[in-house]
């Protein structure tokens, strides 16, 4: 980020709030064992759905597990799923988009038809396929979420590459004899990177929600792993009787998604000077 962009970012209150939220999440995730008052998977059936009290500050879930500890450890799952899924989507989508956009011709056509098939393909079936083949769990859920984001990234990168290809300095570099891979690496990638960063940040927000959706359908992270999505989805059945079970992990989701979104928006505003406020 250039100094200019950094300054713009620094003046954006909402972006700073986003950064603070995300930094907070990272800290909580890193210090989870220090912060969590109890073992997040330890069951204590007779304390099931205990209301918040001195022992369980945020209450206990249907197995009597400490909700606060589970929400804290859940940060790790959320960040892991978010980061890894974004990485998969950005790397796979970026590579496909670059190749398609730069190569053009039949390769471009083939890749783009493939992307269209992937877009028209029922996402849930894809998730089930991955989860049935590999079994449900944090890593496999992450792969499913990452694959979900791939076609969008590919399309976006391809469009940027196409636009950049026609810019004068890329033409000049070409005229000077720069080969394909060198062009992509030296001239195109650095130009696409800011967009990708923004997208990756926004995607992390989505990843947390998609993971929650998969959990709702029983295809996400499996217990006793403390995943927020799973906690909300199992807690919703007792919403009327024990609202605290689903509320705290729900808030955690809101806070993290909000954080990633604000950060992503802020980054985009900062990196794209045309969008500078009045």
């Amino acid at each position: 980020m250039s100094a200019d962009a950094a300054r713009r970012f620094g003046r954006n209150r909402l972006a700073l709030l986003g950064l603070a939220l995300v930094a907070g999440l990272v800290l909580v995730a890193a210090a989870a064992p220090l912060l969590a008052p109890q073992d997040p998977v330890k069951q204590s059936l007779f304390e099931k759905r205990a209301r918040p009290d001195a022992k369980h500050l945020l209450g206990a879930d249907e197995f009597g597990r400490d909700i606060l500890s589970r929400v804290i450890y859940g940060t790790r799952v959320a960040l892991l799923v978010g980061t890894l899924a974004a990485a998969i989507a950005v790397v796979a989508g970026g590579a496909l988009g670059c190749v398609a956009g730069f190569a053009g011709g039949w390769l471009d056509a083939t890749i783009m038809r493939g992307i269209e098939i992937l877009l028209a393909f029922p996402y849930l079936l894809l998730a089930i396929a991955i989860v049935s083949a590999l079994g449900p769990g944090v890593v496999n859920t992450t792969i499913a979420v990452g694959v979900w984001g791939t076609p969008t990234v590919a399309r976006m990168v391809r469009a940027s590459v196409l636009a950049l290809k026609e810019t004068e300095y890329v033409r000049a570099a070409r005229a000077l004899g720069a080969g394909g891979p060198a062009l992509v690496l030296r001239h195109i990638l650095p130009n696409v990177l800011p967009t990708l960063c923004v997208y990756a940040t926004l995607f992390m927000a989505n990843a947390v929600l998609v993971e929650a959706a998969l959990s709702f359908l029983g295809l996400g992270v499996q217990p006793p792993t403390p995943s927020w999505g799973l906690m909300v989805s199992t807690g919703r059945d007792v919403l009327l009787v024990a609202p605290h079970v689903a509320t705290m992990p729900g808030l955690a989701i809101v806070v993290s998604v909000l954080g990633f979104n604000l950060l992503g928006d802020g980054l985009r505003d900062a990196l794209d000077p045309r969008l500078r406020g009045a």
Partner: protein
């Protein structure tokens, strides 16, 4: 084994007289006619024809449209329905006298030909009905005269009468089946107290009273079955009055509903046993001491009280009480929750605690693999998690592999099964021990052919269940099944967890309703609305 056809006189006349005398002191008994009953349940039927639908969402609806030769009541006793009497005339042949004057909803008469048509369609059709496997050696029917029909089996079959009382064995109108073709599955025609009106996929199924019903006509004008997949939404619908009846109510709200005079909770002991199966051929579970240790390690009371919260009963064996042939295994005395005993049994089998608390034998950890799905049976996922934690407390490390039901199902049915443990449920839908003990514990009923997923093999049990299957002497059968269950209790290849309760919550204005223990029946013929 002759059964008379006497039926209870209708109480209506008496009630009418009582009302006329101004006997308003018993208003609860004053049955009212008319009104629409709205039922919410989690899923839409697959079909309304037993030929294509053997699961409960369809059966709840068509059990009110179609009737079988024999009815099975809430006490699981058999009664005449479309047949008024029957005689066993040979080990493979039962003769039924049909009720005269019964008409299908399309106006055609019920006769022997319709019974033959129904059974032949189910058993010999191309393809046969989806319930054909449940009918065992049931082979078809032969017309004797207009109102007399013989049901034949390919070999002597003890549970024949209960098989004919299955919800699937409802007699269909041959005229309607031929006329509608495959569309019959969305517009069934039978003889029941309600006739089909409309089915909008995933929205509603509507039935209305059949005015020419042969018996007591249904008090309700209409029944509307609506779909609400979310448990929370179903409970709200009951509270707002959007629904009069909720199937699969939220267990933790039942206590509050029972206290509230606006609502009523109806329940019956169900016929499904949910259990953790053990693979008896997979070391170390081939050692009965290790299997027993696992049984001792599970605190059933805690699971029942805290996870099922009154929505189920502790399992009393591999069968549900009420099933013909059930014998109480007294599991609470044979395998009481006792961690000390569990550890002692493991020690006898050579397993001793390692450094991290997990049992070890010759450097090998006591680690078991576990195949489980979630959401197939009530609280199955939670039970798996809880038992996993309880096993950990006696030094047994269980690694659960969660699968979505369809892939788990394929693996359960597969051979070999490479897991030590598996969470499953089994319903004795015929209400006869045969349909559990034979496919689950006979040594030749191994997957993929049968459901002996535990790979249990005991020659004596084989003999007993075979004998009981072929005998038509019900007293003898009961004794044979008793002995088989005694043997099973000693070898225990299951950790039985709970016995289902069939629970339905209604608004207090719903009267005359009783939950049927067979989860496929939802009898609405006597239900009326007090409003």
């Amino acid at each position: 084994m002759k059964r008379g056809g006497a039926r209870l006189a209708t109480p209506l006349a008496l009630l009418a007289a009582a009302l006329a005398l101004g006997a308003l002191a018993t208003p609860a008994a004053a049955q009212k006619r008319g009104g629409t009953l709205t039922i919410v349940r989690p899923t839409d039927p697959v079909s309304l024809d037993p030929h294509y639908e053997t699961t409960a969402p369809g059966a709840w609806v068509y059990s009110n449209i179609l009737e079988s030769l024999i009815a099975i009541d809430e006490k699981l006793e058999l009664h005449p329905k479309l047949a008024t009497s029957w005689d066993v005339i040979s080990p493979t042949r039962v003769r039924f006298k049909l009720r005269p004057g019964v008409r299908f909803h399309d106006g055609t008469p019920l006769d022997a030909a319709a019974v033959k048509f129904t059974l032949d369609r189910a058993l010999k059709g191309t393809p046969p009905g989806r319930w054909a496997s449940l009918a065992g050696p049931l082979a078809g029917a032969e017309v004797v005269d207009d109102l007399t029909v013989d049901v034949v089996t390919s070999e002597p079959f003890g549970p024949i009468l209960r098989s004919l009382a299955l919800v699937y064995a409802g007699i269909v109108s041959p005229t309607a089946v031929v006329k509608a073709g495959p569309d019959f599955s969305r517009a069934p025609v039978g003889t029941g107290p309600f006739k089909f009106v409309e089915w909008k996929t995933n929205t509603h199924v509507i039935l209305e009273r059949f005015a020419d019903y042969w018996g007591d006509k249904a008090p309700l004008d209409r029944v509307v079955f609506r779909v609400l997949p979310e448990e929370g939404a179903r409970m709200i619908a009951l509270q707002t009055g959007d629904a009069d009846m909720v199937l699969f109510p939220s267990p933790i709200q039942l206590a509050a509903l029972r206290r509230d005079p606006k609502f009523a909770v109806h329940e019956a002991t169900g016929l499904r046993v949910v259990f953790v199966g053990m693979h008896a051929k997979q070391p170390p579970l081939d050692d009965v001491r290790v299997r027993s240790a696992l049984l001792h390690a599970v605190d059933l009371k805690a699971i029942l009280a805290n996870i099922l919260e009154g929505a189920a009963l502790p399992a009393r064996g591999v069968l549900a009480p009420g099933v013909f042939g059930f014998k109480d295994m007294r599991l609470d005395q044979l395998y009481p929750f006792d961690r000390g005993r569990a550890k002692a049994l493991l020690a006898q089998a050579g397993w001793n605690p390692g450094p991290d608390g997990v049992m070890q034998k010759g450097g090998q950890r006591l680690t078991l693999t576990w195949l489980a799905a979630r959401g197939r049976y009530p609280k199955d996922g939670e039970i798996t998690e809880a038992v996993q934690a309880m096993l950990r407390d006696v030094g047994v490390e269980a690694k659960v592999e969660w699968r979505e039901w369809a892939s788990a199902f394929t693996q359960f049915r597969g051979d070999p099964l490479s897991f030590h443990l598996f969470t499953l449920g089994w319903v004795t839908s015929s209400t006869d021990a045969d349909s559990s003990l034979y496919p689950l514990f006979h040594s030749r009923q191994l997957p993929p052919g049968g459901w002996n997923t535990s790979r249990y093999a005991n020659a004596r049990v084989d003999t007993l269940v075979e004998q009981a299957r072929r005998s038509l002497n019900q007293g003898e059968r009961e004794r044979l099944y008793g002995e088989a269950q005694d043997l099973l209790a000693k070898d225990m290849v299951w950790i039985p967890i709970y016995n289902t309760k069939e629970i339905v919550a209604t608004r207090a204005s719903v009267k005359g309703f009783g939950v049927h223990p067979v989860e496929y029946f939802l009898p609405l013929g006597k239900v009326w609305l007090d409003r």
